[in-house]
Symmetry: C2
Subunit: 545 residues, 2 copies
């Protein structure tokens, strides 16, 4: 990969694809901890980045360590290089979390969070080069870093990855389901369900596991058995979708570069979740009478005090279907999906369905975790480089919006990169002289899908797709709706043509034509019409006629 690297110092580098901010605030935390990095085989680019440049001045690590404030500037070291990243901080896709590396050496973080291991990231770093470390300090840094343990080594073994997923990052593991896999069943099998991790996967000893539930004054501690034996079980079918699903299609040169993983249409899945009602637990502990929010925290921690978290309004927490879940599709949760317990907040963005949950707090305040107060917010289109005040002014996203996507036919390659999809209609389609189009549609907040429409003329006229099922009941419709449309071969041109889909929900919200008006720098909630461009194998069309 790196052999294609061209070493350019561009001051205003435009990045077309950004995959570096998956972890948001978690990137830098490992530097302070004692974990051991995995040392990768080095490739050709790394011999240039961070190597000694004789024309530059020398700064010791002691000097570097003094530069950890806005006044003095933010410095850091990488190999033999010293960098002043002060002017870069605002542009860091993971936000100000890069500052946790200020005054320190960078390799440990990057070798654990391997998503930084991309040409353009090295390119950017070297732009900020100001000097060299004295001889020997690089080696001291390396010995320090060897003490750091790589918790990712305990991540679960994952099978059939290439068959089912497009992997967006390995550490933390983030992978979306391939489109044609998505629509092959209403219930997504666990091994095909998208994985969105913010961190390593916690390793839980179920005998030691405790779920703490409190309100800041008193705290109750429940074992796994306490929870599953004391409370009635409840099962719902609910789609989980990442708020960044379809982010890839929101990137465009005119409006600016979007932060976060460029998900195509597969950061979504639909499963049966079994657990106990959060309401039942809160009521039994007398915690349902006060507070405005319920906060959740997981075992996926950056530091012992800084764990993944989120919160939901108390009204939602006390509603019928919010679960502390222990089963997914009638089996125990897998480690990637939150074993032993996770929250399921149906109708809301996946970020609120906290995995590996071990702490629940009823409070008058939202969670102060960065994932609640920064990452999962919808910033205005006009904000290109968010400041704290932008985040403060924007509410945390809760409910999903109405959305739909075409998933079949699809490519085995990343859909973001496929300009024209060559299609050989399958046997059935040839027999019926019709091309089958399939996809999913869903809305948020329990709204049912009202209809899905398909257009072959860029939205001038719309054709009704057949809905394979509707989520029930309609005010608590948590599951997606799969849909099908058959286009007669006679209506298909031999040259490439566009198919667009759009859904409307039961309160008549529908999808906008373009992402231009809904563009936001964090790339959340893209629900513009989904379009694919097809080129049908002409021989197949003839066989059918």
């Amino acid at each position: 990969m790196r052999s294609r690297f061209t070493f350019l110092f561009r001051r205003k580098l435009k990045l077309q694809i950004i995959t570096t901010s998956l972890t948001g605030g978690l990137v830098a935390g490992y530097i302070f901890s004692k974990y051991k990095p995995i040392v990768r085989a080095e490739a050709d680019i790394s011999v240039k980045v961070g190597e000694r440049i004789s024309t530059l001045p020398t700064y010791s690590m002691t000097e570097v360590a003094k530069h950890t404030t806005a006044e003095k500037g933010y410095w850091l070291a990488y190999k033999d290089g010293v960098y002043d990243i002060t002017s870069y901080v605002e542009n860091h896709p993971g936000g100000k979390m890069v500052l946790r590396s200020a005054g320190k050496a960078l390799e440990a973080c990057w070798k654990i969070f391997t998503m930084h291991d991309m040409d353009h990231v090295y390119e950017i770093l070297e732009e900020y080069r100001i000097g060299n470390l004295p001889p020997g300090e690089r080696e001291v840094n390396q010995r320090e870093q060897e003490k750091i343990t790589d918790l990712f080594q305990y991540d679960p073994e994952r099978l059939n990855i290439k068959e089912n997923f497009f992997v967006r990052s390995k550490r933390p593991f983030n992978a979306e389901t391939k489109p044609s896999v998505l629509v092959s069943s209403f219930i997504t099998p666990v091994e095909q369900f998208f994985v969105r991790n913010h961190m390593h996967v916690p390793f839980v000893n179920i005998n030691e596991y405790k779920l703490e539930i409190g309100n800041g004054k008193s705290t109750h501690s429940l074992s796994f058995d306490d929870l599953t034996e004391k409370y009635q079980s409840h099962t719902i079918t609910s789609t989980l979708a990442c708020s960044g699903n379809r982010r890839g299609a929101m990137n465009n040169d005119e409006q600016g570069t979007i932060r976060g993983a460029p998900w195509y249409v597969g950061a979504i899945g639909n499963a049966r979740w079994t657990g106990v009602r959060l309401r039942d637990v809160l009521q039994s502990l007398g915690l349902d009478k006060e507070g405005k929010y319920v906060q959740f925290y997981g075992l996926d921690c950056e530091t012992p005090k800084r764990c993944y978290g989120g919160s939901i309004p108390i009204e939602k927490a006390l509603s019928d279907d919010v679960l502390i879940a222990y089963e997914m599709n009638n089996e125990s949760l897998t480690r990637d999906h939150g074993y032993p317990l996770r929250i399921i907040v149906p109708g809301s963005i996946g970020a609120r369905s906290v995995k590996w949950v071990n702490r629940i707090v009823v409070s008058d305040k939202e969670s102060d975790s960065p994932w609640q107060i920064f990452d999962y917010k919808l910033l205005p289109t006009s904000v290109k480089q968010p400041q704290k005040s932008d985040y403060d002014a924007a509410p945390a996203i809760q409910d999903l919006n109405v959305n739909s996507a075409i998933c079949y036919p699809s490519s085995t390659e990343d859909g973001n990169k496929v300009k024209i999809l060559s299609v050989q209609p399958n046997h059935n389609d040839i027999k019926n002289k019709k091309l089958t189009i399939k996809g999913y549609a869903l809305s948020g907040g329990g709204k049912q899908i009202q209809n899905v429409q398909v257009s072959l003329d860029h939205g001038k006229t719309w054709l009704q797709a057949e809905l394979e099922q509707l989520a029930e009941p309609h005010m608590r419709a948590w599951a997606w709706t799969l849909w099908t449309y058959h286009i007669p071969f006679d209506d298909l041109p031999s040259k490439p043509f566009d198919i667009i889909c759009r859904a409307t929900d039961t309160n008549a919200n529908s999808q906008p034509e373009s992402p231009v008006g809904i563009w936001n720098v964090l790339g959340h909630m893209n629900n513009a019409w989904h379009k694919i461009t097809l080129q049908i194998d002409e021989k197949c069309l003839k066989k059918g006629s």
Copy 2:
């Protein structure tokens, strides 16, 4: 008005504007009751419609009265004419309710519900002429009808109608606020608040008034004083919007004629509502533990057993802000707005905020009123003439969708009819060399407005409007947001140009570009981009430069 009438018998008459279905199921009910019609001065058209045609056969009222089924056909009489409307029933904008006139004479209904008094309605009727009544029967019918009392004569006196409203029908009274009036204040004054009546305005003696609350097994009866003295008062600021707001812009020749009043952008208003929480009342009566829906019925009745009604899910009914309201903007409700008590369901379509409420029922079922099971439903785009099964398959609309409209500048004429609006910028705008654009934006279900954007290039680029306020708190944001945008005169062409607005809410739902994909035969929930075309007075532009 009628002097322009051209008497054409067209079999496939296309109606461009339909104002006949405001009352839905209520149109025909009066025929069975004892109310006295108001006799209007007759105009030239009426001497033709219903007058004797010597070439046609004669049928007695006894014969007409036999035709009240699908098998025998549906007949009715008007003046001396006999009509077979069997093939028209499906096309009646008010649905099958027209059948309640079958076998009877029509004048009583039409003279009370004067919205039928339009050229095209007489035109349509005469298309179905099959015969004459025998001499003398017309006079018998008229004497019968004189016994009917016109309850509309007790409607309240309404002042400054022309100044504040476009009146869509006088009986029942339906009037929308003029756009420039709408955006002149965050709180809409009562006398400027749109009126949406399904019937005459009930006349209530407060000393006799009782509110019945039950669950089908037991019923509690509360006086006005019981309610207001026993329970704590609660005030919210909430927008009410008719689900048909902006219906006028959904009409188009290609997709078919839409039923219902062609509201422009003014079937909406924002007020402070004070009352008691529905939850508190249900809890105190032990009615909060069962049932899936809460039904509301008003005193505006077609027959004693058929009153306006609607229902909402129990979760919504038990939430913080659903009110049994007695004040609007700190004054007692006026008769047009539901005196003495009305329901306020913030975030939902206005139809659920039942006025003149006198009965509340907790039930496992939705209300079986026609306004719950027929009228206020979102039918699929493909349905042009709804059958019962279409209604059965469609859920009742509850929450509003995201919407916005440009209200200033605006015409004093009905906005639906204004193609190009000539604008003379006001003194301030000339001084500032900027044209001021103002409007409203809102969403449903408590979602806050995230942003409002304006485009001067048909949606290619979007400019951020200034939000004058945001509804609070953001998960229970019930009020609209007013917004402003200033366009520098230098950016304004001297020829007519379009301005478009669109809003996005905090769960990232936004407005679709066109109503084509959201078209529905009942014309609900139009939230396409709102566009106006302006022509600026060139002299003003020069003065400013």
